[in-house]
């Protein structure tokens, strides 16, 4: 079934490592942007032909910081979604929130609107690291936000955590994990810092103001994360995602399983009718055009060559890996016929293993994921 992603490109303040489309200090655009989102949703057939009225079993508010929206704005968007699509009963409706804007009242409000899953941007519990990252919340606020959500009756809770941060050592990671595991979470996204060009972080690291921990140290941190999460009963089901049994992110899983999803909002991506599309990035332009004209900035049709490649590298992000039968159903040919010469050496090298359902990364393969994935790009 189809998923819907809604992008909220506003933040109170941009984090120092972030190169994602989000903007601080443009709050005056929020209200017209929400209206524009609703217009796009009402006009979804324009850029996603045939999507109007389609059944959605996942909706995902991502950002940016969706929790900067007022509850009435969230309601306005959800009303449009429910009006123009068919949101199924039991649909997973996720909302990304930052601790500084996730108060008890706000959490209750979200729950009342039918939001049943929150993804909370914790990143760290160490005050020094939070400052370095440019986060505006404190460690206590982070914990409080999660409890507030829990107390509001939202049980499906995910937190983001980062490691490999400047000045961070293994003890900090252990401490963060301990704090994290003491919280009532069903899911966590734990990933290492990636230095992106053009960010203040990139500048600081290249000029020597900031120093990242050495590679082997980051590797050890990653291992500590895997071990701790596993012991705590979380399943490492995707490269950077952990879930308690039954609590995988159903929406994100669509990305990795080649399932179509539609989207709304600036820079939002979709996969619809065999096309990968990205929305335009300019907020005023988006507001002007929504409901009147196409909002797609880039569209790539997935051909017979790229399709199977995408399928494989996405599927392998999940520990379940490539499902041979699903692959055949999708492309009409076996994964061996398409990628025999790719699979065999990877298996020999101990990076891939043959499983009952197909092929999956080994523990070793997990550490060299990008190398393995790149093999599938022909």
């Amino acid at each position: 079934m189809t998923g819907l992603y809604i992008h909220i490109p506003f933040c109170r303040q941009k984090c120092r490592y972030c190169d994602f489309p989000s903007y601080g200090g443009v709050d005056n655009y929020i209200a017209p942007y929400v209206k524009a989102l609703c217009r796009e949703i009402a006009d979804s057939d324009r850029d996603h032909p045939g999507s109007a009225g389609t059944a959605l079993d996942t909706v995902y508010f991502g950002g940016g910081t969706p929790s900067l929206l007022s509850l009435s704005q969230v309601e306005e968007i959800l009303t449009a979604v429910r009006h123009y699509f068919a949101v199924t009963g039991g649909a997973e409706i996720t909302f990304e929130a930052n601790p500084d804007s996730l108060t008890a009242a706000y959490a209750k409000g979200l729950a009342g609107l039918g939001i049943n899953r929150l993804s909370i941007g914790i990143q760290s519990f160490q005050p020094g690291l939070l400052r370095t990252l440019g986060r505006i919340h404190t460690a206590d606020e982070g914990k409080a936000a999660i409890w507030a959500a829990k107390n509001a009756g939202i049980d499906n809770l995910s937190a983001d955590l980062m490691y490999g941060l400047p000045g961070q050592n293994l003890r900090d990671v252990d401490a963060d994990l301990k704090e994290l595991l003491a919280l009532p979470l069903t899911h966590a996204s734990i990933y290492s810092l990636i230095l992106e060009e053009g960010t203040p972080f990139y500048h600081d690291v290249t000029t020597g103001t900031l120093e990242l921990p050495p590679d082997d140290c980051v590797e050890t941190m990653g291992q500590a994360v895997h071990a701790a999460m596993e012991v705590a009963g979380f399943e490492h089901y995707e490269i950077s995602s952990y879930a308690r049994p039954g609590n995988r992110s159903r929406h994100n899983t669509k990305y990795w399983q080649y399932v179509p999803y539609v989207s709304a909002g600036v820079t939002a991506h979709s996969f619809w009718h065999n096309c990968r599309q990205a929305h335009i990035a300019n907020i005023p332009q988006y507001i002007r055009l929504a409901g009147q004209a196409s909002l797609i900035g880039e569209r790539v049709e997935i051909d017979a060559k790229r399709g199977p490649e995408d399928y494989c590298f996405l599927a392998l992000r999940m520990r379940d890996g490539i499902d041979a039968k699903a692959f055949k159903d999708q492309f009409g040919t076996t994964v061996e016929a398409e990628f025999g010469t790719v699979l065999a050496p990877l298996v020999t090298q101990g990076l891939l293993q043959q499983t009952r359902r197909g092929y999956a990364l080994t523990e070793k393969g997990l550490a060299y994921g990008n190398y393995v994935f790149s093999r599938f790009i022909r």
């Binding site: 990653g222 820079t267 939002a268 979709s270 790539v300 090298q349 790149s374 790009i377």
Partner: protein, 600 residues
């Protein structure tokens, strides 16, 4: 038609001086080809030739011209290949002519190939008509060029014709000059047949087609002929002329230029330079000058996918049908598997064959670095010819090694003499002579090891003279040199396809540069890979390809698959054409790396 109304000529020029354009204008002016049929540079028929602006296979055309004297003349234009690699073919084409048009670019003047070709033409006693082309260009300086032709070549240029092949200016004058100044062929119709094969090509219906000039006697369809060099006999199934397509005529008279077909299976049955005579009334001696085309440059060609070996063999056989100079024989490399050692006339010939194999036959190939033929004298008194470094005998059994040298003519502006001398000396060149062509340009002659020319001489020369240098060379015998075989070990194992033969004194430097280059070319793998250069058992250079870094784990934001994919594509880039050698994957470029190292 009587021989007195026939003229056989060719056009000689340095590359880019406008030979093909002039040929096109002559064809157009005589109505041989109508404007409508006219493609640019009609005589260069291969795509590759058109792309590179060079002629590889010579073409011929028969022009019918009504001269001002009221008579109709047959002008046979014999086009010549325009590159030093095809010198022998040029000389055979010239041998079929009685005169030549010498084109010199009015903006550039005499260049190295102009000289080389003029000397070839003079060797054949050809009447040479100097033509100064491109006079429509603002920078044209016909007076300077006229003087240069006189000073440098020693030809009387007072009646040199000024033309613009591009605009058509002066073309009529050229046609008149061909009639008036180039001698008619000798009338020897009553002698036994002697016809010179100056080119050949393969036609899938008619078999090999020989392009010939009838020097004595005549030839008609149905005649039984004999090739005087090989002794092979055939029955002529078709005779005809080029208009410029083949048109059957039934016979070819003395002095004329045309073709014949005789159910010959491939072009080696009608070798360029051979003399055709009649089996029943043979000539007593062949025409002078025949020699077998001998490759100067060798390299290994291997399919990237081992199962393409048969396709590669078929493709080489097909090319061979049409290219008598291309040699190939199967060879095996422990690193690359089954492939072929191929011999070429020169680097351009090698590039052309490689490109045709890839383009026309859709093959993905790995090429090893080109090598010359070394004469290796062993201590037991025997001599072996080594064209593949990995087959070099054990150095303890080698007495001495001789390598081919080439006499190299370099023409450059005089202020670049110092640079070129340095480049040549650094590559073991021996200075022979230097001549001033005029106040600004100099001709330098060096004796250079051919392997240095293959290595990087050409590229360095071109870049350090900003493209001003023009170059020509010819084989100039073998000389003893202290050469050694340098092996490359990857992950502790000798990769035979990477072995090279180098001068002893250059070995350490070149070894270091080569392993460094290989380190940059071989992608990181799951383990560290040592790359070593060794002479015998002695390691002279070492580098390591560090192991692949483990990934940092990244989140996939908001379904943005394209961004992830772009990263993967970047990682994948340049990793096509990898060859698994032992446990290491080596990219195609690595095998040519020896040519790209900068060790100076």
């Amino acid at each position: 038609m009587a021989t007195k109304y026939i003229r056989n000529f060719s056009i000689i020029a340095h590359i880019d001086h406008g030979k093909s354009t002039l040929a096109d204008r002559l064809l157009e002016k005589t109505g041989t080809v109508s404007k409508r049929e006219m493609e640019d540079q009609l005589l260069d028929t291969m795509d590759l030739e058109r792309e590179r602006g060079i002629t590889i296979k010579a073409q011929s055309a028969r022009l019918v011209y009504d001269a001002k004297d009221g008579h109709q003349y047959i002008l046979n234009l014999i086009d010549t290949p325009g590159h030093v690699d095809f010198n022998y073919e040029v000389s055979r084409s010239l041998a079929a002519c009685d005169g030549a048009l010498l084109i010199v670019d009015a903006t550039q003047g005499v260049e190295a190939q102009t000289l080389a070709n003029v000397y070839l033409a003079l060797e054949h006693d050809l009447e040479i008509i100097p033509i100064i082309n491109k006079i429509d260009l603002p920078s044209a300086d016909p007076e300077r060029v006229r003087k240069e032709i006189e000073d440098v070549i020693g030809l009387d240029a007072s009646d040199a014709i000024e033309v613009s092949a591009k605009t058509g200016y002066g073309i009529e004058e050229v046609l008149e000059a061909i009639v008036q100044r180039i001698p008619a062929p000798e009338d020897a119709a009553d002698k036994p047949l002697r016809a010179l094969i100056f080119d050949s090509h393969f036609d899938s219906y008619k078999g090999a087609i020989a392009n010939i000039r009838i020097m004595e006697g005549s030839l008609k369809t149905g005649d039984r002929i004999r090739m005087m060099a090989t002794g092979m006999e055939f029955e002529v199934t078709e005779t005809g002329v080029f208009i410029p397509q083949m048109r059957p005529t039934g016979s070819l008279e003395c002095g004329s230029v045309g073709y014949f077909a005789a159910s010959m299976k491939n072009v080696r049955d009608c070798r360029v330079g051979d003399t055709v005579t009649l089996a029943e009334n043979p000539a007593s001696a062949p025409l002078p000058g025949y020699r077998k085309a001998t490759p100067m440059v060798y390299c290994g060609l291997y399919p990237v996918e081992t199962n393409e070996y048969d396709n590669l063999r078929d493709a080489l056989e097909k090319l061979h049908l049409n290219d008598a100079a291309l040699l190939f024989e199967p060879e095996t490399s422990t690193a690359l598997g089954f492939g072929f050692r191929c011999g070429f006339l020169g680097l351009l010939h090698m590039d052309v064959v490689k490109e045709r194999l890839e383009r026309e036959y859709n093959l993905s190939l790995i090429t090893t670095a080109p090598s010359v033929i070394y004469h290796v004298y062993c201590t037991d008194g025997t001599m072996v010819e080594v064209d593949n470094p990995s087959l070099m005998p054990d150095m303890t059994k080698v007495d001495h090694i001789e390598e081919p040298f080439v006499k190299t003519t370099i023409i450059i502006p005089k202020d670049m003499v110092g640079t070129v001398m340095e480049i040549s000396q650094n590559r073991r060149g021996q200075y022979l002579t230097m001549d001033y062509l005029d106040e600004t340009r100099v001709s330098l002659i060096y004796d250079l090891p051919l392997c240095e020319i293959l290595y990087d001489y050409f590229d360095v020369l071109k870049s350090s003279t900003r493209g001003y240098a023009s170059l020509d060379y010819e084989l100039n015998g073998y000389q003893t040199s202290p050469m050694v075989k340098m092996d490359i070990l990857i992950n502790g194992e000798v990769v035979d396809a990477l072995s090279v033969i180098v001068h002893k004194e250059f070995a350490a430097r070149r070894g270091r540069a080569l392993v460094e280059k290989l380190r940059s070319l071989i992608p990181r793998q799951l383990f560290q890979i040592p790359i070593q250069a060794a002479i015998g058992n002695k390691i002279i250079a070492r580098e390591n390809v560090a192991a692949l870094r483990k990934d940092v784990l990244a989140k996939c934001y908001g379904g943005d698959i394209s961004r992830k994919r772009k990263l993967l594509e970047k990682q994948k880039e340049g990793k096509k054409r990898m060859k698994q050698v032992g446990s290491v994957e080596i990219p195609q470029e690595a095998f040519m790396a020896v040519l790209q190292v900068d060790d100076k």
